[in-house]
Amino acid sequence: MAVIEKIPAAKLIRKVPGGGLFLTTSESLLKWGKASSLWPMTFGLACCAFEMIAAGASRFDIDRFGAGVFRASPRQCDVMVVAGTICIKMGDCIRRLYAQMPEPKYVIAMGNCAVSGGIFYYDTYSVIKGTEALGIAVDVFIPGCPPRPENLLFGLMKLQEKIRNEKDAAR
């Protein structure tokens, strides 16, 4: 059936012959649901944020992948897209926002600055050299200065792949 093939966990789904029922494991269904409804945070740091906004708008439409509802509170989010340069003063805010997000939570480091400091790596007094330097574990790194919205969508799909392949679905 064409509809079944479109579902990422298609291999795990079997149709009961002659019936209208799907059989799958509850775990893969849970992971599929989790990966298909990510809730990013309304949160941008620098120019990469504009690419993120473009990805959220109609042309690129991040909503196609179920991650279009940018929430204005960290308590309603499960993805933090670190989009931009992390200044020392902003570092504490990011740590606090990450701590306020409920589990399970995922982090996408978008752009060279959030990956490693980018062009601010050398001789810069005010910039933290990447999200991992803050002590936040990153799930997906997206390089680029800034990455195009397609790259963010690709990173999002990589994150969905990662969630679907998680060992422990209850994370």
């Binding site: 003063k89 050398y122 001789d123 810069t124 007094y125 005010s126 050299k129």
Partner: protein, 150 residues
């Protein structure tokens, strides 16, 4: 008014103000800065907008730059004050232009110039407990990663 007319008006009123060579920028001794600023704010020149305050570290001296603009007269002028590194004190203009408040805090934060008479001279861009003034030529910080020379 044209830039040369403005500097002419200023020089006749304030003989201690000089013109920078090759430009129409006004170099003013720091003692007469406040008085000159007061004059510039009111008509006939009517500089109602303090656009920018910044500084240049020339090692032997610190150059303080004020960029003024008049919205009603549509002309502008640049003032410069030379400070010696031993005495980085200058009068605050925050009583004349509201924008000077934050601009002077920025210059204090990055260059360490003390604006006497400023109502709230705190750091503005760097954290409050920051040590040193990052845009000075002699600034160094152990956390800086020097760029390798190729």
């Amino acid at each position: 008014m044209r830039p040369d007319e403005i500097s002419g008006v200023i020089k006749t009123k304030f003989p201690q103000a000089k013109e920078e060579a090759g430009t129409n920028n006004i170099i003013v001794p720091k003692e007469s800065l406040l008085e000159l600023a007061q004059y510039l704010k009111n008509p006939p020149l009517a500089f109602d907008n303090l656009h920018c305050i910044t500084a240049v570290d020339r090692k032997e001296k610190m150059e303080l730059v004020y960029i003024l603009y008049s919205i009603c007269e549509r002309h502008g002028v640049t003032l410069k004050v030379y400070l010696t590194p031993e005495d980085l004190n200058v009068a605050s203009l925050s009583a004349l232009w509201k924008s000077a408040n934050w601009l002077e805090r920025e210059v204090y934060d990055l260059f360490g110039i003390i604006f006497s008479g400023h109502p709230d001279l705190r750091r503005i861009l760097n954290p409050y407990d920051w040590k040193g003034y990052p845009l000075r030529k002699d600034y160094s910080n152990p956390e800086l990663i020097p760029k390798p020379r190729l």
